[in-house]
């Protein structure tokens, strides 16, 4: 089961420069676990204390997973997951 994960510029150091990689899992959490197995180090950039980092946006297809079920959001074959660091500052 393959889900395309789109990787932002700043995290492509973990994916050998790839803009999109495949991963698998039944939920966003499992997907990130699989990403970590393939691209060690990436999980800590996305998750902190078992929650999505506040300034990282993860989208399932066209929806922010925060408005779905967070890390528990189910994903299925053919979905696209997009990671975008929130543009923010003070």
């Amino acid at each position: 089961m393959a889900i395309e994960v789109r990787i932002p510029t700043i995290l492509r150091t973990y994916t050998d420069g790839a803009k999109a990689v495949d991963a698998s899992g039944a939920t966003i959490e499992e997907l990130i676990g699989d990403l970590e197995a393939r691209h060690p180090g990436i999980k800590a950039r996305l998750v902190e204390n078992d929650k999505l980092r506040r300034f990282v946006n993860v989208y399932l297809n066209d929806e922010d997973v925060r408005f779905l079920g967070g890390l528990g959001t189910p994903v299925s074959d053919g979905d696209t997951v997009t990671v975008l660091p929130a543009v923010a500052g003070g």
Binding site: I10, T82, L84, P85, A86, V87, A88, G89, G90
Partner: protein, 133 residues
């Protein structure tokens, strides 16, 4: 160095002025490092000391840029009580290593541009292209 048209500079200043005392923010998309398409963004925080792009708006705009083979050439925001220099928060959330981070201070009428890469701030010159030149 950031090379940018007078029109785009004026639009950043107008957006910052309109949203004062809250911080204004946005992006200028372009290709080959040339800022062209002005995209004012909503400050989801509506705050005088903080800004954050609305997550759904950012998703749409980033996808549009992807579809157009554009990149975020400039990411701008305003400071409304302090100088136009990146704050610690600006540095910790800077996530576009190829972007010019433009700050405009509505308090001091300062327009400055920076690179922020791996937590390091580097100020750069700004060359403004005047119309008809």
């Amino acid at each position: 160095m950031l090379t940018i048209s007078r029109e785009l500079v004026d639009r950043i200043i107008a957006h910052a002025t309109a949203d004062h005392p809250d911080e204004a923010c946005g992006v200028i998309a372009g290709r080959g490092g040339v800022p062209e398409r002005f995209v004012p963004m909503e400050n989801a925080e509506r705050s005088p000391t903080f800004y954050r792009f609305d997550s759904m708006e950012q998703f749409r705009v980033w996808r549009e840029m992807d579809d157009n083979d554009e990149e975020p050439v400039v990411i701008y925001h305003s400071h409304t009580a302090t100088e136009a220099y990146p704050s610690r928060t600006d540095v910790s959330y800077a996530s576009e290593p190829h972007a010019h981070y433009v700050l405009y201070s509505t308090a001091l009428a300062q327009f400055r541009s920076f690179r922020i890469v791996d937590g390091v701030i580097e100020e750069e010159d700004v060359k403004i292209l005047e119309p008809g030149v």
